[in-house]
Amino acid sequence: MNKNAFLKSCRVALIPILLAGCATPLPPAPGSAASKLIFLNDLSDISLGDLRAVPVNDFMTVEAEFINNSSSYTSFQYRFQWRDRSGMEAGNEESWKVLNLSPSQAQRIKGIATSKKATDFKIELKENN
């Protein structure tokens, strides 16, 4: 193989690698359960199970189930963000809370908006450090 042919074959081999590198995962569909989560770090061992949101006394109440898919203990921090109809913050900024999970454990967390104006929510998640 001469030099030119070698370079050409290298270019051909590099194209799929470069394309694979550029292929970022699609964002979750708006309104889906996954779209309610904001990951500030990579928490690949954690997955979302059930997610429910209902009004209680006109205050939006959310229950979310998180599952530890690993075979070791893990913990992370979470907090709810509450939004009104226009997407503005509703109520107080919450403090971060720690959730400890045993291997394969599924645990439900509950969040309640302290403002009746809250009509939407997000759950922020980050590493516990």
């Binding site: 006394n57 109520g91 107080n92 900024e93 403090s95 971060w96 309640i112 302290t114 403002s115 009746k116």
Partner: protein, 206 residues
């Protein structure tokens, strides 16, 4: 070089030096480099003693529990509440009024309940009433009167306790905040809630 030229040269150098010094204003020092603002909402675990994070978690739990209680659902009018006392039954110094005020602030912002002044607030109100009523400075028709205050229907009180355990290098503290809302007319306990927080620390070997 003549003496006159030498003096002129020296004068120019001196003037330039003074001018340059005069223009060199020092920037005001805003930071010594070792102080930073932190996130007050972050989970702070500097020591296992009670801290702001614990206060926030306690206040959030109590507020959300009360807002979703049947008391709020069944009330045609906003319930009127006064804060009585949160007793500190731990061995630590804890400003329990700070916890009470956090709960009051969050509940007030929800606009689901009304808070009446408590014992601590009363001295401020009485001082102001006396100032307006007795100083002779205010019109009688435009000043607040004694005897018009509205009493709260419910009293919020409770206690915070702790259980401390040590084993080898591990120290465990469990904090339990228990709050009660009592109907002052009937003495019925209309709502009660507790928040438990466990903090574990391990003594460093070094």
């Amino acid at each position: 070089m003549t003496t006159q030229t030498k003096i002129s040269g020296l004068a120019i150098v001196l003037t330039a030096t003074l001018g340059a010094t005069g223009c060199a204003t020092n920037q005001p020092a805003y930071s010594a480099g070792n102080v930073q603002y932190g996130d007050t909402k972050a989970a702070e675990t500097l020591t296992n003693e009670i801290g702001l994070t614990d206060f926030q978690m306690m206040a959030e739990k109590m507020t959300t529990s009360l807002l979703t209680s049947p008391l709020i659902a069944g009330s045609k009018q906003k319930p009127t509440i006064t804060i009585s006392d949160i007793k500190n039954k731990t061995s630590e110094h804890i400003d329990t009024r700070a916890i009470a005020l956090k709960i009051r602030t969050q509940l007030s912002k929800s606009q689901a309940v009304r808070f009446m002044g408590d014992k601590a607030d009363e001295s401020h109100a009485l001082t102001e009433l006396q100032r307006q009523g007795q100083s002779g400075r205010y019109k009688a028709s435009k000043s607040v009167k004694m005897g018009n205050a509205e009493g709260a229907k419910y009293s919020l009180y409770g206690e915070i306790t702790s259980i401390v355990k040590r084993a080898d290098d591990v120290k465990n503290i469990d904090y339990i905040l228990n709050l009660t809302l009592e109907d002052l007319d009937s003495s019925e306990i209309v709502w009660t809630e507790e928040k438990e927080i466990r903090k574990t620390s391990e003594r460093s070997m070094f």
